[in-house]
Symmetry: C2
Subunit: 192 residues, 2 copies
């Protein structure tokens, strides 16, 4: 990690907050020297502590092969600046090309799993698959335990999203190349 | 449904788009004359057609009792105007009070399930539980098939979110009373 990096570890019990607002994520994976990345709009937290996540990984993807073989995956939360990449990684299968090379995607190494993590994201969740073969096979639904988490401190620091209006934000895929940006933060108090 | 209603049916194969961008939802339920509503940040689409969803429903909630007893639930996508309500329905258990009465929440009837649907939302998904007892018990994770879907045509029409900057939008819960608004829509073309 370079000296100027803004990447800082996230307390595991607060790592769900990187996903709680429903951003679209990039799923990265590695096995036996091959790597891949795909976009996933269908992911969510599943538990606080130990933190767990759920993500849908279609049976026809190369990512699925790598995740099943390695028992690991990373969820990368892309910034708005990575929206085009998020759309483009779905254009071709990782079986046909190494997307990291072909699309010049910069990565860095995680600490607990082998999957590469993508530079330029707001947060990263390193996950180990919780084996549930029935739902994997029937629904393409994968559960994972978050074993390490990281965030760009310009976006998320001290367990909270930075509330500055100009802090970098993520994206929320809809369909057909259309996205919503993450909008402004606001805070409410519970009524007594 | 009053004559001036903007509520229109959503084609089932496009109903995932009501959830695809990761909004926080309200889960409503009914059984044997009792009803309830809770907020859920942890929901996602699970399949396109027939459409399925996944949602986490904690074992300690009254909603859980009603969903398990009835085999049904609705996911209501609240507008920004319902953010305070979304926070407040978590303040008290439906075992202790009828939240619809106590918080003066207006509802209308669905067509395929008994759970009441909340007025003022952007979209509604009527769901039947797909019984998966192992993951219900172990992870509080419920799967449902969407059997009817509705949207406010000022927000979502013809299978698409209305792109006007002033169209009503939803909310994305983070933690501790903090939310993100859904931000502006944008569209990209896939790179060749």
């Amino acid at each position: 990690m370079p000296a100027m990096s803004h990447r800082l570890p996230v307390e595991l019990a607060k790592s769900y907050r990187l996903l709680n607002h429903g951003p679209t994520v990039l799923v990265s994976s590695a096995h036996a020297g091959r790597t891949n990345v795909m976009a996933a709009a269908w992911s969510m937290p599943l538990d606080f502590s130990p933190p767990k996540v759920a993500v849908v990984i279609d049976r026809n993807t190369f990512t699925r092969e790598l995740v099943e073989a390695s028992g690991e995956f990373a969820l990368n939360v892309p910034s708005r600046a990575l929206a085009q990449l998020t759309l483009d990684v779905g254009s071709v299968s990782g079986r046909e090309q190494d997307k990291f090379d072909a699309q010049a995607i910069a990565t860095f190494a995680g600490t607990r799993i082998a999957a590469p993590l993508l530079e330029g994201c707001l947060g990263w969740l390193e996950c180990r698959v919780i084996a549930e073969p029935h739902i994997q096979e029937r629904y393409d639904l994968f559960l994972g335990e978050v074993v390490a988490a990281w965030a760009d401190s310009r976006a998320f620091a001290g367990g909270h999203w930075v509330e500055d209006a100009d802090a970098p934000r993520g994206i929320h895929y809809i369909a057909g190349g259309s996205f919503f940006e993450t909008g402004p933060a606001f805070r409410l108090d519970k009524k007594d």
